[in-house]
Subunit: 194 residues, 2 copies
């Protein structure tokens, strides 16, 4: 099985067939990978955080949970999950986000820019990028006050999470570019498809 | 100032100009209104839960908080807010949702169907409908377990929340169709624009 590496602060896109398994690996630990997906045969169907959270009745999705499309169709089921803590609330980091929240004057294009560049050859416009499933991202939620705080991921070197495709998909995946999300050391992400 | 009424289990869409204020009123109490918005001059720009939650660093948005577009532009700022409890996590109720979560065999088209019908004359496709800002919807969040539970709204008869438009907008608004969201009595919603 080929292991692909996504260089730090970059992204890729690829096709998957229904029934295939995508394994996202954190080779060094404490890194995040933003994942979005589209129906390979009709890219107007997209991975929907709002649908998935509603059907799961939890914001913490892990083994056995389904990720749904905007049309309520299963796109993935989560298989083996070494980490069990992912985020599905926050939009991908972007140059606007780095300027606004980090005060960067020459902001990186972020996961959003990396997803957009990776999806362009598949004919998917940046405005179609939804809230990502942020693999390994650790957003702590205070249910009483509402506060969302981005903490270092719980993933240790070699930890992995598997996603079983329930339809033919175009998937985009990043090695995250936001310091706060990866404990301020930019690292690669690895993945395999089987 | 004209007060418009949205009949129970229905929806409307309208244009707003930058600087106008939309006031959403719950005339009978314990009712929810799903709100989505698009840039009136470029409907590829849409209200984004993921961007708004990231910039606010809270899932409980109220007076003074900004609702952002997918392009990180302010669409609304929340003004007066009698209730202070709204949801920005869950997708609009839909026929698929009523079938899946409520077991309905002849499901209502829900807020999603009502938003789609109201937005069609504005040239906005159903696949472009994002996670709504669910005015008055009371989703309790358990930060430790992740559990999301839909509870009766905290709104009392006559309570209102105001949204100040920060760009020219196409807005769609519903009187919610989901029993769990409105304590199992379908009621109207009212609104005014000033």
């Amino acid at each position: 099985m080929t292991i692909h590496t996504i260089a730090p602060r970059s992204g890729v896109a690829f096709r998957m067939s229904q029934g295939q398994r995508l394994t996202v690996i954190d080779p060094e630990g404490e890194q995040v990978s933003d994942l979005v997906a589209f129906n390979a045969h009709d890219t107007d169907e997209w991975l929907s955080s709002g649908r998935s959270l509603d059907y799961a009745s939890t914001f913490l999705l892990t083994t056995g949970d389904t990720l749904y499309s905007n049309r309520s169709s299963p796109m993935f089921v989560i298989g083996r999950d070494d980490v069990g803590r992912h985020d599905f609330l926050l939009a991908p980091c972007s140059k606007e986000m780095f300027a606004r929240l980090y005060g960067h004057t020459e902001p990186h294009r972020g996961c959003f820019g990396n997803l957009a560049a990776a999806l362009a050859p598949h004919g998917i416009d940046p405005d179609r990028i939804p809230t990502a499933f942020n693999v390994f991202m650790n957003v702590q939620v205070d249910g009483a006050t509402g506060t969302l705080s981005v903490e270092p991921p719980l993933s240790r070197p070699g930890d992995a999470t598997t996603f079983e495709a329930r339809m033919d998909l175009i998937v985009a995946l990043t090695a995250c570019s936001a310091g706060m999300s990866n404990n301020f050391r930019f690292k690669p992400i690895q993945y395999s498809i089987a």
